[in-house]
Symmetry: C2
Subunit: 223 residues, 2 copies
Amino acid sequence: MTDVRVIEIKKSVFADNDEDASRLRSELKSRGTYLLNLMSSPGSGKTTTLIQLINRIKDKIKVAVMEADIDSDVDAIKIKDATGIESIQLHTGGMCHLDAEMTRQGLDNVSLEGTDLVILENVGNLVCPAEFDTGAVRNAMILSVPEGHDKPLKYPLMFSVCDLVIVNKIDVMPYFDFDIDKCSEYVHMRNPKARIIPVCAKTGEGVDAVAEWLLEEVYNWKH
Amino acid sequence: MTDVRVIEIKKSVFADNDEDASRLRSELKSRGTYLLNLMSSPGSGKTTTLIQLINRIKDKIKVAVMEADIDSDVDAIKIKDATGIESIQLHTGGMCHLDAEMTRQGLDNVSLEGTDLVILENVGNLVCPAEFDTGAVRNAMILSVPEGHDKPLKYPLMFSVCDLVIVNKIDVMPYFDFDIDKCSEYVHMRNPKARIIPVCAKTGEGVDAVAEWLLEEVYNWKH
């Protein structure tokens, strides 16, 4: 069985998370490493999407992944098996989110030398992770079709902090009452600039557009 | 448009939530009111399931619903329109869960006289709501097929505190890689006594079994 490193994250001691997150972002900027914070509900397909995405960019830039979870290490193993890149598991010990200091504890265990992009797969939760700046350059989230197009109405903060909304599982659209136009309208109520990309992570449909967006983001960050 | 009452929940002041929850449970016992705490991920179909369930039991017992959400009142309106029963909306003001004192703030706005059952639809989240005893007699949760059968591995606490796991959206099972036997095995790792009931809330399939379970629960609580 594949072995991945499992890091037990400790509670933060910093009082001012916003300040700490800005500091972390500056450090990453000076290293030339881009950090993406990926959020979603449980079961939206974060790991499957990541595998498709990483396999499209790993020959162009150096990528590492940190998988945060309450428990288990199945995701980190899946990523490593399917992509071959560095993948570590962060255990939050029951905590429902990551802040900047907790993200830093993870980054301390990644070989950052020469790494262009670190993707943080946050805890599956549409509430708490949105409240904490992790120090990432951008926040992205995955909304899957079975969850419904009304989610931006119910989880306003999540959608207002995300610059990219990936709508996953579009292959099952015929079986669900999901209106992509309404979804876009609701997302843009929360963040008028948000980019929306529909994908099917299972088949890879649409993931090229995500890869393109991300490669451009990383390039701009480094130049 | 239907009007529902919207209650803005305030942060709790009680230090000991477990004690407060036990006190609330005793008060409900002496009134003969059963409180069910229903949890799930966002978009698992809590509201649709509730509508099917309530329409099967509302002629036998008096039911009221409290819909907790970060924002919006769409769920409380849907329930009221589709069932005609008393339905109020609780706004948590960004908080990711309800504890006993917050639940009590909601109950203070329900006409409890003669009410046999109050169903609390908790905030859509598999992490935080599991950590707080709301004072409910039982916890139940809905896991929907598109979320995957591995969720009990990733959200252990949620599955260990629930006595009933409703597996929803079984109509789309053919389109997802969901193994109901593995699901049961993982659920029972967390709580060997958990009852698992597969349903399709859209068509109502399986909901009779949930209604039966709940009517028996309420009967036992009152006698």
